[in-house]
């Protein structure tokens, strides 16, 4: 009966590729590709599932409710020891400014809000460790973190775009750090099962992404439009103030950068990860472009 079912699946319409999205600027190319019909052009049926909670998204990915999702290097690394192998296939571009009530005073202890096991924690180190003594406070929920900064409980906090721009509306100052990080930590990850079973769709997905990125590189307004349309509840005011990243042509993190993140993650979780870039990434799709 199972065989029958899978046979009919093969014979029937192409299976949908479900990819989990977050309300972040990384999502712009994916949504632009959807609007522009690039997935259809590639002959893949892509469904973008927007999550409001990163944890839920990650869980949906682990339990194969979605085939792939926006994720990050730290998650890939920490989960490499768990029983969920997630494979990164494509770096995406995000922006993670700090928000503060004013310029940070050098030499003092800066209290900063972030999430413990996440890229934002790494970035905070990367941004501030050189010049400030940083005292981290872990507040996972972004709105709560924002209020902690606004009300002066914290000196600063890290916020992904477009959220940082919303914070700006509350008279906070956006602090950006050019050139940090060297490479993007954000990545699209797929489950092993999806990589096996939906190879064709994933390849098309990447091609569509490449096309979309080219569009966005040409006209950043397109990214703003895609985000405004895709993400519910985005205030109209931030359409123009939203800090967009440079959308790069599809790539994967370099080996050295990956090693750096692995050792940083080891420091945070106190666990040793016996993985290398080759275990974390699958470059097939990038290479095929």
């Amino acid at each position: 009966k199972d065989a029958q079912q899978s046979a009919s699946e093969k014979a029937g319409p192409e299976p949908t590729l479900k990819v989990g999205m977050m309300s972040a600027v990384d999502a712009a190319p994916f949504y632009h590709a959807l609007e522009a019909g690039y997935y259809e052009d590639e002959g893949v049926d892509v469904e973008l599932v927007l999550f409001t909670n990163g944890q839920h998204r990650q869980t949906a990915l682990q339990t194969q409710q979605v085939d792939g999702a926006m994720s990050d290097l730290v998650a890939l690394i920490t989960q490499s020891t768990s029983d969920f192998r997630l494979i990164g296939t494509l770096s995406t571009d995000g922006a993670f400014p700090l928000l503060a009530t004013g310029p940070l005073t050098e030499g003092t202890t800066v209290t900063a809000g972030t999430m413990e096991i996440s890229v934002t924690n790494y970035l905070l180190d990367a941004y501030l460790k050189e010049r400030y003594a940083v005292e981290k406070v872990f507040i996972n929920e972004i709105p709560a973190r924002l209020e902690a900064v606004v009300s002066g409980q914290l000196d600063t906090g890290i916020f992904p775009e477009p959220f940082a721009s919303i914070g700006e509306l509350r008279n906070l100052e956006k602090l950006t750090f050019e050139g940090i990080p060297r490479e993007s930590l954000n990545i699209i990850a797929f489950t092993e099962k999806a990589l096996e079973g939906k190879e064709k769709q994933i390849a098309g997905f990447h091609r569509a992404y490449e096309r979309a990125v080219k569009d966005l590189q040409r006209d950043p307004e397109l990214a703003r439009t895609a985000l405004m349309n895709a993400i519910p509840a985005l205030p109209e005011e931030i359409r123009s103030t939203m800090g967009l990243p440079t959308y790069h042509t599809p790539s994967l993190p370099s080996e050295s950068f990956t090693e750096e993140i692995i050792s940083w993650t080891e420091g945070i979780t106190g666990t040793e990860y016996t993985v290398g870039p080759e275990d974390l990434f699958d470059a097939r799709f990038i290479n095929a472009l």
Partner: protein, 243 residues
């Protein structure tokens, strides 16, 4: 209507809080009203409401469907209670949200998993209240049932059920509140309608006016359901020694 005054009180509290805190995290009621009329009403407000209502009612129904027998058995049969109660006590404190992964594996991310999640969350408090209610049934009535040779079914129908009916309504009120306030848990994943979904969306964007608009609707939905429960109780529960 008596509920209007209560709403007035809440409104007043809200104004006072908004005034005192004077931060966007508590917007003023009027701006929330305006937002609701502007944004919610013309758009898909009814869809959000209906989806949430549907999930809650079904969740409540499923939970009570299992909780009432559990509570009755645990309350009536001490031997089984010795087994059931520790199980309830062990499972009740589990943070249900941490079982999201299990839910997703078992039930996917569709409506079913949302409804079951609500049902499971409220199953426990409902079982515990009903069990406690059954244990409080006056011994005289149970002795009467023995003396008059009531069959199991009759004991249930004529003694236990009417005796705990007020408790069932009480537990309905508790679980209704819980299910509304955890709606956002079940509607944070893979939903595109529902008040919890709206609240979450506005929340992650720190759009407090919109969030409060959705919360206000949730709260009014709650009040409406409560009015219905209170009214149903007046209908179903026997009149008691009065004045």
């Amino acid at each position: 209507m008596k509920y209007l005054r209560g709403m007035g009180v809440v409104l007043l509290l809200w104004y006072v809080a908004a005034f005192l805190i004077s931060s966007p995290v508590i917007p003023f009621p009027h701006s929330v009203f305006i937002y609701t009329l502007d944004q919610f009403v013309p758009q898909e407000m009814h869809l959000h409401l209906l989806y949430s209502l549907y999930r809650i009612l079904l969740g409540l129904f499923i939970a009570l469907f299992f909780a009432i027998p559990t509570g009755m058995i645990a309350g009536r049969v001490p031997a089984l209670d010795r087994l059931i109660s520790p199980v309830l006590y062990l499972l009740y404190p589990l943070p249900k949200i941490a079982f999201l992964p299990v839910f997703m594996v078992l039930l996917g991310i569709g409506d079913l998993s949302k409804i079951i999640l609500i049902a499971i969350i409220i199953y426990f408090p409902a079982s515990v209240t009903i069990r406690d209610g059954v244990k409080e049934i006056p011994f005289e009535f149970l002795q009467l049932a023995v003396a008059y040779h009531l069959s199991r079914k009759q004991v249930l129908k004529d003694i236990i059920w009417p005796a705990i009916l007020p408790r069932i309504f009480s537990s309905l009120r508790i679980t209704l509140g819980i299910s509304l306030s955890v709606l956002f848990i079940s509607e944070t994943y893979a939903a595109s309608y529902g008040l919890g979904y709206s609240i979450m969306n506005y929340w992650v964007m720190a759009q407090y006016t919109g969030m409060y608009a959705a919360i206000m609707l949730l709260s009014l939905l709650g009040l409406l359901l409560y009015i219905i429960v209170d009214w149903a109780e007046r209908l179903c529960v026997h009149p008691r020694a009065n004045m």
